[in-house]
Point group: C2
Chain length 250, copies 2
């Protein structure tokens, strides 16, 4: 995928950018998709395109900071980002990841404060920023905009709620199982998952250590639930995995 030949995310330094998915050549954003528009709404799309500031960020770049006042909505057109917080010590603690095309932060800008998370690019990425005031000015003329933004925000809530539930009520194995199931290809397709990120990043998302993740994988392999070769794994027993994911520890 990212590397020419192989199965692994081949990056070396987190900030160095071997792992290149060059931002797509077209400079435009798929607004229809991102906003979940049904009608064509070409006038709205054009207007959005005008107010959006699109830019490319190399892997490892800090795209959002909790220091910045939140005055723009930010979306990821392509690439993958990690949301979390930088510690005073300077290390970054990811809480979750976002893969474009999706909103990175469609909410903070509606409040008078800063962004809620720091965000760092994992792969090269293309991001677009929309000033809140510009959107507010577009609303009267484009009645489809507000509901679309409300939908976009609502959609962002979903994974967060899920995450809270998992962190609060599932043990490490359950969280990993749930994570795998979320990545499950459509039924009918091969139940094979390619990991596009370092395992330690996956571990961070699951709020466990890389060592624990490694042991979990070995354990699932022993149980015959999955099969692993490097960064490519195959789900052998989806029902079993689902039961592990649902087994809400304690």
């Amino acid at each position: 995928m990212f590397t020419t030949t192989a199965s692994a995310p081949s990056l070396r330094t987190p900030s160095a950018s071997r792992r290149v998915r060059p931002a797509s050549t077209a400079p435009s954003i798929d607004w229809i998709d991102v906003l979940g528009l049904v009608a064509p709404e070409t006038a709205l799309v054009e207007a959005l395109q005008r107010v959006a500031a699109v830019r490319d960020a190399p892997a490892g770049a800090l795209v959002l900071s909790r220091e910045q006042p939140a005055i723009k909505l930010v979306l990821v057109a392509s690439g993958q980002m990690a949301l979390g917080r930088s510690t005073p010590a300077g290390t970054f603690r990811p809480s979750r990841s976002v893969s474009g095309p999706a909103w990175l932060d469609a909410t903070s800008a509606w409040l008078h404060g800063s962004y809620l998370n720091d965000a760092v690019t994992v792969t090269d990425a293309r991001v677009a920023e929309l000033p809140r005031v510009a959107l507010e000015m577009l609303m009267p003329r484009h009645p489809a905009l507000a509901p679309a933004l409300l939908r976009a925000q609502a959609e962002a809530m979903n994974p967060l709620t899920e995450l809270v539930h998992d962190l609060a009520h599932k043990d490490a194995e359950g969280r990993f199982a749930a994570w795998l199931l979320r990545r499950l290809p459509a039924p009918g397709d091969e139940p094979v998952i390619a990991l596009h990120e370092r395992k330690r990043d996956i571990a961070a998302q699951l709020a466990i250590t890389p060592e624990t993740l490694s042991r979990l994988c070995a354990q699932l392999v022993r149980k015959g639930v999955i099969e692993m070769r490097g960064y490519r794994l195959r789900l052998l027993d989806v029902p079993r995995l689902a039961s592990l994911a649902g087994a809400e520890a304690a």
Copy 2:
């Protein structure tokens, strides 16, 4: 507060309702506050009042269910609610709590699905429900509505993000310390916190067992950080507490 005399949430059965805060006599909602409106906007307020279905729910009632299709926005005018999930076994696993006046769920209804959480009243509560379609119809006439709803949704995101971070990166003591600090009275007031809920409910919010919470309290008392008498506790050393809360375990 809730009981006539005492310091404890005196309820016996979780669903029984000794712990009564009768929903306020006025049948109306403070829309200005809930929506964060700045201008008076009386026309909008009246319109909202018309489309809102207000009802009172006794303590222990199931107000929202993940089985229901989400077609209404729900807000809690007064009282306290727990959000979480019922297990197949029938027990309720709270993830977080909401105290009125605040939105209980301002997001699910914008999507075509069910509610994201089950919600149970902890105290007697008054809830209001607004059909999404009604709000959409009000939007063209009331330009202040959409931004207000966007703000409301955005505000709901904030505590959730915080919660994810705490669950992912803080140990039990840190989460409890952070929880206490969130309840800290305004600086200048007495640093005394009255617990209005059973300790086991607090524990559930923190994703720990009641036993662990009890031990944490004892430990903080031993350290001289807090003082406890029943359900009333005094913060003796706020800076120390803050450092515990910030100490992002590991």
